[in-house]
């Protein structure tokens, strides 16, 4: 089979899988938050409200896509699909099994980081093009936050890269299968790096627990204020998609990816991703928001210096391991 055909088939499969999981993760979140808040969540459509995502999608499709008169039309239309494309693009290098990966790039981690920093751009486009003050403030916060949190994110992702000696996610997972998951071994840097990675990647892309750019109690809906119908739907889809992919990347980087006994690798990967995903939701539905400047303070005052220290510690660890092996 030609590698192009293989990449095409795999990406179609992975995109379909991701979109499906994302749709039902919204159902899952609504049920989950409902139970947390002593409600029942969706119950009307299908058993346990399982058809709720379908109905939500239909509702959004029926709505008119309004473009404000003073908006920058081209950019306003461009932003929502761009967010989804960038979020899906990240999924290309994530290995869902030893063979289930759309493109096993040598610079997989770098690619993820690059696309991650690009996600700031459509958010800013949406904020700017809406020509709404709330959107503008949201976009400004998004850019500030995105640029700041790229650094701790890169530092956290560097730890497994240094330990495994490769930037390919498949290699990193294979290394973990041989030497143990990074979150457990070497003790310390791996676990701390994971604690950094997940929040930093969510904050960098302004995703859920750090969604200060769309803080609805302050900025109504931030960058999504002026979006209706499927434009709004796509922005939200991208948000969930990104959260899901971040969970997948984190489980590949720190939790040994598809490594696990008895069940096939894909099952383990999906299970780990969903557990992390649920963890993110639990955080989201129980914490209040930071103020934007406080979030920046955490990044520059704590995450960046500690991240640098972690990179140093893991480099020393690798050298020591090499020396002891000789």
């Amino acid at each position: 089979m030609s590698p192009y055909l293989r990449a095409l088939i795999y990406s179609l499969v992975i995109i379909t899988l991701l979109l499906t999981v994302t749709a039902w993760s919204i159902w899952f979140e609504r049920k989950f938050s409902g139970r947390m808040q002593s409600r029942v969540g969706p119950t009307f459509y299908g058993p346990f409200g399982l058809l709720q995502p379908v109905v939500d999608g239909l509702k959004l499709l029926q709505k008119e896509f309004l473009i404000p008169e003073s908006a920058d039309r081209a950019l306003f239309v461009l932003a929502p699909p761009l967010t989804v494309i960038l979020a899906l693009g990240t999924a290309a290098v994530v290995p869902f099994g030893s063979e289930v990966v759309a493109a096993d790039l040598d610079v997989g981690v770098l690619y993820i980081l690059a696309l991650g920093s690009l996600t700031t751009v459509p958010v800013w486009i949406a904020g700017w093009a809406s020509n709404n003050k709330y959107s503008l403030l949201g976009g400004m916060r998004a850019v500030a936050q995105g640029i700041s949190y790229e650094i701790p994110l890169a530092l956290a992702a560097l730890v497994p890269v240094i330990l495994a000696g490769s930037m390919s996610l498949t290699d990193i997972v294979n290394y973990q299968i041989q030497h143990g998951w990074f979150v457990f071994w070497p003790p310390g840097p791996g676990f701390l790096a994971f604690l950094f990675f997940l929040p930093a990647s969510l904050a960098e892309a302004n995703r859920i627990p750090f969604d200060i750019p769309e803080a609805e109690s302050e900025l109504i809906a931030g960058v999504t204020t002026e979006y209706t119908g499927m434009g709004f739907g796509l922005l939200y889809l991208a948000e969930y998609l990104h959260t899901l992919i971040v969970s997948a990347v984190a489980s590949a980087l720190f939790f040994g990816g598809w490594d696990g006994p008895l069940l096939p690798g894909l099952h383990w990967m999906v299970a780990k991703t969903l557990v992390l995903f649920a963890g993110i939701f639990a955080i989201r539905w129980s914490l209040v928001r930071f103020r934007s400047d406080q979030l920046m303070g955490i990044c520059w005052r704590y995450l960046v210096p500690i991240g640098l220290g972690l990179v140093m510690v893991s480099a020393i660890w690798v050298q020591l391991a090499k020396a002891s092996a000789q």
Binding site: E216, S217, S286, F290
Partner: protein, 420 residues
């Protein structure tokens, strides 16, 4: 008719007292006052500032309230509040309707604590018309007021968490919990009065609805649950690092500013002034009770939260004291007739104030005399929310937009009462 004026606003002679029960070890802070009359054209000749209209339709304005913010980046330079979007002409309506017709209207003023509105109104009328209230009714009113205070503060706590955490985040979880507990109080009220919200249970000279059988046990179980869960919520929010970062030192209203603006209630107590009408000018049956007033000294959003949470606990204690000892006797001093002759011809004036969950809720009424039918000549509502909101132009400058929402939430404005 003797003029009877109950305690007016805070007496300026009252000093910033030491705490009876210190709830914090922080030092008293001073408001970094902004200038409400700042000339924007002189301040910013190049017109670089952004004007942001927070409201009237905004998720966090607690009704329809508009704040015009002049922003330098996200920093507020000047804040101009506008109210009046919910003006319904209640005070004018009072000049048309008769005394007995007014009580249900006043339920809708402060729609989070309708009991207090009714009570302040009927107290003013009783004082004007010289009607006695039997002890049983006074006792029941005290009980209802304290239950209402719990419900109102619970709603505020949830709404404040939502202001900080957002409707699609952690705040809404606490909001749901607080509403769940508030339901318990509303259930108890429903059983007593038949209504969950707009009770119309007070009338001139007494109460309309008597305590049903087995009511006390239900109140007991409700407050037991609330007291137990309140501890959980405190642990959930008030010890949270993010919450403390968001509220400590934010929106400081110091004692000077609070007294200058006539702010009463939890905001005043959080600023260190030990003033509570329940203890200082007892009405109803508060003279038979010992009300412990909680104060704090920091005057910021966090202190206001502490004071309100302590007030819930104090109200729970008072309800528990009272619920089993409601005295026997008549519930009203006269029959609930439509309008008697005395009301029709009454002149003179009276002021009555209650300590509503938001502060001193006062009603000043001038009797209409014979040619007005049985309506007041003029009625003025002194609403605590309006006074509380007036601190915004002083406090907001120097904060960012996120803080503006937190401060607005922490002063607990009820727009129905602000605009009347």
């Amino acid at each position: 008719m003797e003029v009877e004026v109950a305690s007016s606003a805070v007496s300026a002679s009252r000093e910033i007292s030491a705490n009876q029960r210190p709830v914090t070890n922080r030092s008293p802070a001073k408001t970094r006052r902004g200038d409400p009359y700042l000339d924007i054209a002189a301040y910013d000749p190049e017109a670089d500032l952004m004007v942001l209209n927070l409201g009237p339709q905004h998720p966090s304005t607690h009704g329809v309230f508009r704040l015009k913010l002049y922003l330098d980046g996200e920093l507020i330079v000047k804040a101009v509040p506008f109210c009046g979007y919910l003006h319904r002409g209640v005070e004018k309506l009072c000049e048309k309707l008769t005394y007995v017709q007014l009580v249900p209207i006043f339920d809708k003023n402060d729609y989070v604590s309708p009991m207090m509105n009714e009570q302040s109104l009927v107290m003013a009328f009783e004082s004007l018309l010289g009607v006695e209230v039997p002890r049983r009714a006074r006792y029941l009113r005290t009980l209802l007021a304290e239950l209402q205070r719990i419900a109102s503060h619970l709603l505020w706590f949830g709404a404040f968490a939502m202001d900080l955490g957002g409707a699609l985040g952690g705040g809404s979880t606490l909001f749901m919990y607080c509403f769940r507990e508030r339901e318990l109080i509303l259930d108890v009220f429903e059983e007593l009065t038949g209504c969950r919200f707009h009770y119309n249970t007070h009338m001139i000279g007494g109460n309309r609805h008597d305590v049903p059988a087995g009511w006390a046990a239900k109140v007991h179980s409700a407050i037991d649950i609330i007291e137990h869960r309140l501890i959980e919520y405190e642990n959930y929010l008030t010890t949270n690092r993010i919450y403390l970062d968001r509220t400590c030192g934010v929106g400081v209203v110091d004692a000077d500013l609070a007294m200058e603006l006539g702010i009463t209630g939890p905001i005043l107590r959080a600023a260190g002034i030990d003033h509570d009408l329940r203890r200082d000018a007892p009405y109803h049956a508060y003279d038979e009770l010992e009300v412990r007033v909680t104060t704090d000294i920091a005057g910021d959003c966090e202190a206001r939260t502490r004071v309100r949470l302590a007030e819930i606990r104090e109200s729970v204690r008072l309800v528990r004291l009272m619920i089993d000892g409601i005295p026997e006797g008549p519930l009203g001093s006269r029959k609930p007739i439509k309008t008697n002759l005395a009301e029709k011809s009454e002149r003179g004036h009276a002021y009555a104030a209650v300590e509503s969950p938001r502060g001193e809720l006062g009603i000043y009424v001038i009797g209409g005399g014979a040619n007005r039918g049985a309506s007041p000549y003029r009625l003025k509502i002194r609403s605590p929310s309006l006074h509380a909101l007036s601190c915004l132009p002083y406090v907001l400058p120097g904060h960012v937009v996120s803080d503006a929402v937190a401060i607005l939430g922490s002063v607990d404005p009820i727009m129905g009462e602000v605009d009347r």
